[in-house]
Symmetry: C2
């Protein structure tokens, strides 16, 4: 069995650093992205660019049909406004797509089983713990347990769900990306999905802060940067 890994990537900063981090760690990569009807589907183009630049296989799974049933989220539902400003309990809750990471992890696990890969990797990080339960260590452990139990006899007993950033801050990820010369300018974070990063939505604010905290130059062009 190859030491290969199916990495779930969004085209964002975290997933670009994830892919480079895994490769530096010796994993043979295959990338998987999801179109679930998100407004910021432009991120999928960035994921394609990431895969092309790294010369690895990339598949985009069309989950728009499922996404339409996971409503109430600003990420997919046009009737819900994307909130401005910093992530707070109130505003982040509107950006939850029900059970998103569990669905992604299980589709990726299926691909890994069919492909004989030894792991699935997710780019979840500690900055998302407060609001998103599917970014926390117990989620990663539960997903790995389900993956093993559901596919007993069809995958390696050592099958893992890797989440190397699960206890890292976004600034830690930026620092690691800088070490690995990740082309940050080619990554996409903005939830608004315009032509350039808006600079004011929750993810843009988080991105700007992460570079500032990490002390790494931010090459991103923002439409506007909120006074802080």
């Amino acid at each position: 069995m190859k030491r290969s890994c199916v990495a779930v990537v969004s085209g964002g900063l975290d997933s670009a650093v994830l892919a480079h981090h895994l490769r530096a760690d010796g994993w043979q990569l295959r990338l998987l992205s999801f179109d679930y009807g998100q407004r910021h589907v432009v991120e999928v183009d960035h994921a394609r660019g990431l895969a092309a630049a790294m010369d690895v296989r990339h598949d985009v799974v069309d989950l728009r049909s499922a996404g339409a049933l996971l409503s109430g989220s600003a990420l997919t539902d046009d009737t819900v406004e994307v909130p401005d400003g910093h992530y707070t309990d109130e505003s982040m809750r509107t950006t939850v797509v029900a059970n998103r990471n569990a669905i992604f992890a299980m589709v990726a696990t299926g691909v890994a089983v069919a492909d004989g890969a030894r792991a699935v990797a997710l780019g979840v990080h500690a900055g998302d713990h407060f609001i998103y339960p599917d970014c926390r260590p117990p989620f990663v452990a539960a997903a790995e347990h389900l993956a093993r139990v559901a596919n007993e006899g069809f995958l390696a007993e050592t099958f893992q769900i890797l989440a190397p950033f699960v206890s890292w801050s976004k600034a830690d990820i930026v620092r690691r990306g800088a070490e690995l010369d990740v082309p940050f300018a080619a990554t996409w974070s903005c939830y608004r999905g315009g032509a350039a990063h808006c600079g004011t939505c929750g993810t843009c604010v988080e991105r700007i802060e992460a570079f500032a905290v990490a002390g790494v130059a931010d090459p991103t062009e923002y439409v506007a940067v909120k006074a802080r």
Copy 2:
């Protein structure tokens, strides 16, 4: 929160009995089916008929894009022959779609979270345990655990993944269906997906046997019935 349940149904005998069994048990139902590129997609029409007859909401989630990556299975891959005869280790393995039930359970969980439902139900039964790891009690427990952990704060702590038939034989299901007057003739089992049940593939053979063992008249029309 309503005492409502999202039941995953295929249009087969097990899922028709599942839906009637849950309703008899007092659950308010919503049905969910998946088109993952299976040859026997005709079953989805039978699921629609089931929902219409029971007057409950039914959604079909298009997972063909994911299904195309879960190859090596006779259920989705046109290059693999559907095996004749009884379920055996060798022939059943070719009908495995990698991680199928985990993917279905997690999409259904997302729908349940978005809908405020208290449970997801699966029609898995003991007859499938030998080959399919994702039909066994540890799978159901692991899926329920992941569903709760991944959606902490967004669903009831009492959220359940129901699998009332997990320790039943298919004959037990037929007996329960007969008690509940389930219209068996309107259900679909055949993996070949022709105009009528072929009578010779693994699921047809299993269906024929289940009625025989249960001592219930089988209203199904088969193209051919293998001498046994």
